[in-house]
């Protein structure tokens, strides 16, 4: 009994705030429940509705594109950055802190700054225009494709510092002797990086890949804020989480359909995670 009593507080919190909401979401996804309550069992109606909902496919496409566009950069760029700042040179602490600043800054503030930069009459367009590089503004925030790319840029820029810290920890575990031995054998810096560093930090790279893929698939704030909450022109930059918010909130929100969408998002995210881990295992 005593072990259960020790477990009880944590178990209660988990049951109440994780298991119950999850099970409730799963149940609601098979109903036509509204945010204000009620709802009857409708079987798979929400899921078949999803297949006919053009916005679901748009959202799925955008979330998937986000993973493809963001993950490779978030796996490679922070590693390069970590290699740069791991050296013990005077003043390097400043650069480490500078690269980490976007991580601790509020996403709302970050998005506002980028909106001012990328607006059709923002800083970037004005500078390019003054330099006669462009004759009309680049529609960073009003073109469906450019808006998504702009949001990806913000995500990458913001994630660099965080994953850099993860890589710094991994790099600290690479034995110096291995580098020295390789150097004695005549390996240059590039060869040492690929033959010594990469194999040792590969699990960290997979972890970063998995974490950034899950985060990218669930992207919300960057696209939501850069698109002025609208999901881009004609809503064509809406992501899955934005769609869930759109249909599931407000007094008229459709809790049943939003739950079905959430369940699909959960399954896809879990699948993504399992595929990444599987790839890692087969690599090993």
């Amino acid at each position: 009994m005593t072990p259960w009593l020790f477990l009880l507080p944590g178990l209660l919190v988990t049951l109440l705030f994780t298991v119950y909401p999850f099970v409730n979401t799963a149940v609601l996804s098979f109903t036509d429940a509204k945010v204000l309550g009620g709802g009857a069992f409708t079987g798979l109606a929400n899921f078949s509705k999803m297949l006919d909902d053009p916005l679901f496919w748009v959202a799925l496409r955008n979330s998937a594109l986000y993973v493809v566009g963001v993950v490779p950069f978030l796996v490679i760029l922070p590693l390069l950055l970590a290699l740069l700042v791991q050296r013990h040179i005077f003043g390097m602490a400043f650069f480490r802190a500078a690269f980490f600043t976007p991580v601790v800054a509020s996403i709302v503030v970050i998005s506002l700054i980028w909106t001012w930069l990328l607006d059709s009459r923002g800083l970037v367009n004005n500078v390019l225009s003054v330099l006669h590089v462009i004759s009309s503004p680049i529609p960073f925030l009003t073109d469906q494709t450019l808006l998504l790319i702009s949001a990806m840029l913000v995500t990458i820029w913001r994630g660099l510092g965080y994953y850099m810290i993860v890589y710094l920890a991994a790099l600290a575990n690479v034995p110096r002797e291995l580098h020295e031995a390789a150097e004695v054998d005549g390996a240059g810096a590039v060869r040492r990086f690929f033959s010594v560093t990469v194999p040792i930090i590969r699990p960290t790279m997979v972890l970063v890949g998995a974490l950034s893929a899950v985060a990218a698939f669930r992207v919300f704030s960057e696209v939501y804020l850069l698109s002025g909450t609208s999901g881009g022109p004609a809503g064509q930059d809406t992501t899955l989480v934005m769609l869930i918010r759109q249909v599931g909130t407000g007094l008229s929100g459709n809790a049943g359909y939003a739950s079905a969408l959430s369940l699909v998002l959960f399954a896809l995210t879990l699948g993504l995670l399992l595929v990444t881990l599987r790839l890692n295992r087969s690599d090993s």
């Binding site: 049951l15 298991v19 119950y20 099970v23 409730n24 799963a26 149940v27 609601l28 109903t31 036509d32 429940a33 945010v35 204000l36 309550g37 009620g38 709802g39 009857a40 607006d119 059709s120 009459r121 009309s136 503004p137 529609p139 925030l141 009003t142 698109s227 002025g228 909450t229 609208s230 999901g231 881009g232 022109p233 004609a234 809503g235 759109q246 249909v247 909130t249 407000g250 007094l251 008229s252 929100g253 459709n254």
Partner: protein, 431 residues
């Protein structure tokens, strides 16, 4: 094996418990209360919830509450205030838990879903004599589709003049003394401005909202309030006016994604020449955009119906209130002529009570811009209408904006887009 079975049994119990618990979520909210006059003594404790008003107006509300409590011994008002963001989510959480405050500040679109769930008191039934105390347009603003009764005491109102930038007008071939008065004039002047500025200055910052369709004279819904009808020839006509403006860059590119506040910021940054607004905005221009304020032009809103648009707030009473008589008395007290006039004098809003707009404060133009806007707005409100149907949800607003963006981008015709928007909105309305 036995251990596996035990684990399975435990998992099944947890799942079943979860399913039973979650099943509760399916039946929450929407308790049907009794309708009819609310008799009873004005006594006891009630809660009163406002929407983002405590930070600036706590003295006023504390004064109103104190006075009510003195006039009605034995009553206690607990004042709650919620931040601007997430108000609808807070209301839905309260409503789902059957814990809606006794007296609650609502806009018509927030009142509608609560009315649908029978969570608000029918005021025409409960206090039949109240209707005559309020402006007809304001009372009508909370009459639900297909109904004749209202579910909220009208509270403060607002209506907009149209602001325009005289300098941008003059610099780009337009007469600052003749701003557009109709949407057709807006289109004509926008084409001139765009041609003259070669697209450097835009006339307007957003595609039309549902209220613009109403102002243009489009029938938005059928008389029963069961179907949207804004895909009529007139609706198509308005959409095409905006498409013409977009094609010559007289609409900002951001118009495809802009919300009202986003568009207003572009006007303050002097990137667009004209913007709808309210008397409240004038103060912002003075403090936040003095360069614009020096060149500000103020004119009447564009309308083909002769009636301006009105934004309104109301005070409703929860149908599940345990002290309904007290709640009704307090809601009526907060929105009575005396209290509304006092509130209107400390914040740039307008009272919804009959005759209050005849107060010298709203009829005397002392020559200042503030007074000019106030007097004009007050005059406008006598006949103004809340064009936005109460059943037009935020999701429907997004649908309309997205479909109009498709028209601007040339991906669909105005008729196709409006047909699609109406079909989607009708589907949501019926759901």
């Amino acid at each position: 094996m036995q251990q596996v079975n035990r684990v399975r049994r435990m998992a099944a119990v947890v799942l079943a418990a979860g399913l039973m618990a979650s099943g509760c979520g399916l039946s929450g909210g929407g308790q049907a209360p009794a309708a009819g006059p609310a008799d009873g003594q004005v006594t006891g404790t009630i809660s009163f919830q406002t929407w983002n008003l405590r930070a600036k107006y706590s003295d006023y509300f504390n004064g109103v509450i104190k006075k009510f409590q003195v006039e009605h011994p034995g009553t206690t008002i607990t004042w709650l205030d919620q931040p601007a963001d997430g108000y609808a989510d807070k209301l839905s959480a309260d409503a789902s838990a059957n814990a809606l405050p006794d007296v609650v500040n609502l806009s018509p679109d927030l009142a509608f879903p609560l009315y649908q769930r029978k969570l608000l008191v029918d005021l025409d039934q409960a206090v039949p004599d109240a209707v005559k105390e309020y402006l007809p347009g304001a009372w009508q603003g909370f009459v639900m589709p297909g109904q004749r009764d209202s579910y909220s005491f009208p509270w403060y109102l607002n209506t907009g003049p149209v602001f325009y930038n005289k300098k941008l007008f003059a610099d780009n071939g337009l007469d600052p003394a003749k701003p557009p008065r109709t949407y057709t004039e807006l289109r004509d002047q926008a084409l001139v401005l765009a041609a003259k500025s070669q697209g450097a200055v835009a006339m307007f910052g957003q595609t039309p909202g549902i209220e613009d369709f109403g102002l243009y004279g489009v029938e938005l819904m059928n008389p029963q309030g069961t179907k949207f009808t804004f895909n009529s020839a007139k609706g198509v006509e308005l959409t095409e006016l905006f498409k013409q403006m977009y094609d010559v860059k007289a609409l900002l590119p951001e118009a495809l994604t802009a919300t009202y506040t986003g568009s207003g910021k572009k006007f303050m940054a002097q990137q667009v020449a004209l913007s709808s607004g309210s008397a409240y905005d004038l103060k912002n221009f003075k403090t936040d955009a003095p360069g614009l304020y020096a060149n500000i032009g103020i004119t009447t809103p564009m309308t083909n119906t002769g009636k301006a648009n009105m934004y309104l707030q109301g005070v409703s009473v929860s149908a599940n209130s345990k002290n309904k008589a007290t709640a009704l008395a307090f809601a009526r007290y907060v929105t009575n002529a005396e209290n509304q006039l006092a509130f209107a004098k400390i914040v740039t809003i307008f009272p919804s009570t009959t005759g209050t707009l005849n107060d010298p404060y709203f009829t005397t133009d002392d020559g200042t811009d503030d007074a000019r806007v106030r007097v004009a707005a007050a005059k406008q409100l006598a006949t103004a209408v809340n064009y936005t149907p109460v059943s037009f949800t935020d999701q429907m607003k997004s649908i309309l904006r997205n479909e109009l963006a498709n028209v601007m981008l040339g991906k669909s015709t105005a008729q196709q887009a409006l047909d699609s928007a109406v079909a989607q909105c009708n589907k949501l309305l019926a759901a």
